[in-house]
């Protein structure tokens, strides 16, 4: 009886906490909107114009997702399935565009085009949005499909190659196996592109997200903005549920092969062509924007690097500390929710994280303010705890997916064998499952850390007065500061994140060596 009670407590207390801390603020905001708004205007935003705008935004994001998934998958296929010199360098370097804010990317690209061609008219269009989003988000597809490709058991491919050509084996064996990963990356990129406001606003392209932003920021029409956000949320939810319902078994985002060694091919011909393609991609997606930032940072009448460093450094230290704690929390939450879903068929925690993941940042910020801004809760709202809650709400779902896919790869038989031996479930978790999940948990931590470090949308809404954080400071100082200072700050921001990423890779190498059995 005691054991059953403790099992219930372990299962439901975290769920209750998750619900109270993250989901309830959003549900209360929704309730306030439904009950507080005049019923005649409640759904007035649903008209032909709105539906047309949603359709147009979806179409734009669809093109972005298609392009980014194609580029990312091609890179993932070449980098994860073939052996050739500098393979690991390309894998790391092609991830870096993910660390550049889409807005910075848009500005740098626009300036670059002007310098090269003396005209930027072409980029102030839907094509500009598609181009920037595709280059910013393709690394995500590369990571997802690359990881899925590296987990295909060599036996399948070898068996196929015995009877058919490589091309046919790819179409008949590899492609069906990575199809869930392709769809997952497609849907995630589509949602990221659909929710981004900064790039369409900069290029003057009207999308549904810019419309919501206008309602929030120009017209201060909160009921309308929330109503439109609910509509956006429903669209995203529909997309995610489709992916979840049919494709949730996608084996992506893992760094361990768990005993199934994927087949790798040697490149004998056309190595120069491959290097050429990767360098072209690196130039377009990374070197051009970074070079433009470097040129701009050196182009002022004075050098601003030391001033930029003085401005960014204190905020960077605070951000790194906060992102570390945030990433630890998110990793732990991701582990718990994924374990509940995959091993105990308890899907509710995961569903709650899905809800908070797809809510627009401004809506999340307003929900958190309304829910937590009470004198008795000042220990949350007035401190960095509110930021940790926002980070968890924004990125918990991604952590849960990464860890969930890792759990799926652990044979159930391992746990069953231990159970037959009379080993308790806690011990099975601690001694068998946890060590096997370590690489994935590490990946989750690193990714969550990077996401927390750069989060701006919700952070700017709820950060405690007086607190300095790197993305907020770079963003607020940038306005009206000399271009050279702004570019210097962005480069420092990028440099700090890259150094930390490298540091994590080195630590990861050491950890995986130590836990070789994992």
């Amino acid at each position: 009886m005691d054991r059953r009670v403790s099992a219930y407590i372990i299962r439901f207390v975290p769920l209750l906490l998750l619900f109270i801390l993250l989901a309830l603020p959003l549900l209360l905001l929704l309730l306030q909107w439904l009950t507080g708004t005049d019923s005649t205007v409640l759904f007035s935003f649903i008209d032909r114009g709105t539906l047309w705008l949603i359709g147009r935004s979806l179409w734009l994001s669809f093109i972005v997702a298609l392009l980014a998934t194609c580029i990312g998958t091609a890179c993932g296929f070449l980098l994860y399935k073939f052996n050739f010199p500098f393979n690991k360098f390309y894998r790391l370097a092609l991830l870096l565009p993910l660390l550049i804010s889409p807005y910075i990317f848009a500005v740098a690209w626009k300036d670059g085009l002007f310098w090269f061609f003396g005209n930027t008219a072409a980029v102030y269009s839907e094509a500009g949005v598609v181009m920037v989003h595709a280059f910013v988000y393709f690394p995500l597809a590369m990571l997802i499909t690359g990881s899925a490709l590296s987990q295909i058991h060599s036996g399948y491919e070898e068996a196929g190659l015995m009877v058919v050509s490589f091309r046919k084996m790819f179409v008949k064996i590899i492609f069906p196996l990575i199809r869930p990963a392709l769809t997952t990356s497609f849907v995630l990129i589509l949602i990221f592109s659909l929710s981004d406001f900064s790039v369409p606003a900069f290029f003057g392209v009207r999308t549904f997200t810019t419309e919501i932003f206008t309602q929030f920021s120009a017209l201060y029409d909160l009921p309308m903005a929330i109503g439109q956000s609910v509509l956006l949320l429903l669209v995203c939810l529909l997309l995610m549920l489709t992916e979840h319902r049919y494709l949730s078994d996608a084996p992506f985002f893992s760094v361990s092969t768990k005993g199934s060694i994927s087949k790798k091919y040697d490149v004998e011909k056309r190595q120069i062509l491959w290097h050429g393609i990767f360098w072209l991609l690196l130039i377009v997606a990374l070197l051009i924007p970074v070079s433009i930032l470097i040129i701009q940072s050196l182009g002022g009448k004075t050098l601003f690097f030391s001033q930029a460093w003085e401005l960014v450094w204190p905020a960077a230290v605070q951000s790194i500390k906060l992102a570390t704690i945030g990433a630890l929390l998110i990793t732990a939450l991701g582990l718990w929710t994924a374990y509940e879903k995959e091993r105990r068929s308890h899907r509710l925690p995961n569903a709650l994280l899905l809800l908070t993941f797809i809510v627009p940042s401004t809506v999340l910020g307003i929900a958190l303010i309304r829910y937590y801004n009470f004198p008795v809760l000042n220990f949350i709202y007035g401190t960095a705890v509110i930021l940790l809650i926002a980070y968890t709400a924004k990125f918990g779902f991604i952590a849960s997916r990464i860890t969930g896919n890792s759990i799926k790869q652990i044979p159930v038989s391992l746990g069953e064998a231990a159970s037959v031996m009379g080993i308790s479930s806690q011990k099975i978790f601690l001694k068998i499952h946890l060590p096997l999940m370590l690489p994935s948990l590490f990946t989750t931590f690193v990714l969550s850390f990077i996401l927390c470090l750069g989060e701006l949308g919700a952070t700017v809404m709820v950060y405690p007065p007086g607190m300095e954080l790197m993305p907020v400071k770079t963003f607020t100082i940038s306005a009206n500061a000399p271009q050279a200072l702004t570019s210097s700050m962005t480069l420092i921001n990028l440099g700090v994140t890259t150094v930390l990423l490298l540091l994590f890779f080195i630590i990861g190498k050491y950890v995986f060596k130590k836990y070789r059995y994992a």
Partner: protein
């Protein structure tokens, strides 16, 4: 465990409550507002906890935050780059009147009648131009010249739904009447006006040489001149019969039920001082409103023909024209 505890202490500095503090939310660019707030902190010993935002990104953060925090305000003072945002907060019952010896120094014209907001250090709307693309003697002298065919596709204005451009358009609508103002804006569109993301974007495009000229604020133009020798700016509509240029003061408001009411008042008095106006004049060419605060190199309000507007009436006009402005952009 020890390390986790130490990390938690390091991460949560905001947990230490202090009575000698003041919380200010500001949409004035941090590069200009932070030094002033640091000086206040140093001179008074009152810790300033600031939340920064920027007009460049439409002040979404602080404005929505102030509105959402209405029932339990965390902020004591709201410092905005123009009175429009303070007007929005006033209409939502978030600000409260404040009167002091310091507020009396500010001319009545630059204050809300009940002192719900008080103005200081003003900016003006100016025309910024690239000397390589247009000669000074070919420049438009009035905003109404923008519709001339020779300027077709050569100029920009920022998105009129946001920032000081909203204020400017509302002032033009108030001055001309709706019909004439709409006709002028439609003519702008026919003449190929480029709608930039923000005033900063206008500045940048003119500096880069993408466009010959554009409408922006004095602080942007001042920064552009510091950065590049190829740009300069002029005040428009300065002719005898011209409508004058729009003057936009900074505006400061005391928040209703502010947690540090007294310190908030001290900060407001500090912002309304001659010294603060002088600092802002030096850092970003903002024009002092207190008589006798002259700074070399900074335009004086006495020498500029200002547009005659009623700030309250302009704020009200703004609410009325926003749907039309939205449609104008989307067409």
């Amino acid at each position: 465990m020890k390390y986790i505890f130490v990390s938690l202490i390091l991460v949560f500095p905001a947990c230490n409550p202090s009575a000698e503090e003041v919380t200010v939310y500001t949409s004035v660019d941090q590069i200009f507002s932070e030094p002033v707030l640091k000086d206040f902190e140093r001179e008074t010993g009152i810790k300033v906890k600031a939340v920064y935002d920027t007009e460049e990104t439409k002040s979404t953060g602080v404005m929505n935050r102030l509105i959402a925090e209405k029932d339990n305000p965390q902020c004591d003072v709201f410092w905005s780059g123009d009175p429009i945002r303070n007007g929005v907060l006033q209409s939502k019952g978030i600000t409260e009147p404040y009167q002091s010896e310091q507020t009396k120094q500010i001319p009545e014209y630059f204050k809300e009648p009940d002192n719900q907001w008080i103005g200081f250090s003003a900016r003006a709307r100016v025309l910024i131009y690239n000397k390589n693309l247009i000669a000074p003697d070919s420049l438009p002298e009035s905003i109404f010249d923008f519709t001339r065919p020779r300027f077709k596709g050569k100029f920009a204005v920022a998105n009129p739904l946001f920032g000081t451009t909203t204020f400017h358009m509302a002032a033009i609508f108030t001055a001309l009447g709706d019909e004439k103002a709409k006709a002028w804006m439609n003519a702008l569109k026919e003449n190929g006006v480029v709608i930039a993301a923000s005033n900063g974007d206008v500045k940048k495009r003119v500096m880069n040489g993408e466009l010959a000229f554009g409408l922006t604020d004095t602080d942007d133009a001042f920064e552009a001149k510091k950065e590049s020798d190829e740009v300069d700016y002029i005040f428009l509509d300065q002719q005898e019969r011209g409508i004058g240029t729009l003057i936009m003061p900074n505006a400061v408001s005391l928040i209703k039920n502010a947690p540090h009411d007294e310190n908030g008042k001290k900060l407001i008095n500090y912002l309304l001082s001659r010294e603060t106006e002088a600092k802002l004049a030096v850092s970003c060419a903002q024009m002092p409103l207190i008589k006798g605060t002259e700074i070399p190199g900074v335009p004086s309000l006495d020498n500029i023909k200002a547009m005659k507007i009623d700030y309250k009436q302009t704020s009200e006009k703004l609410e009325g024209i926003q749907p039309w402005l939205k449609a104008w952009i989307e067409e």
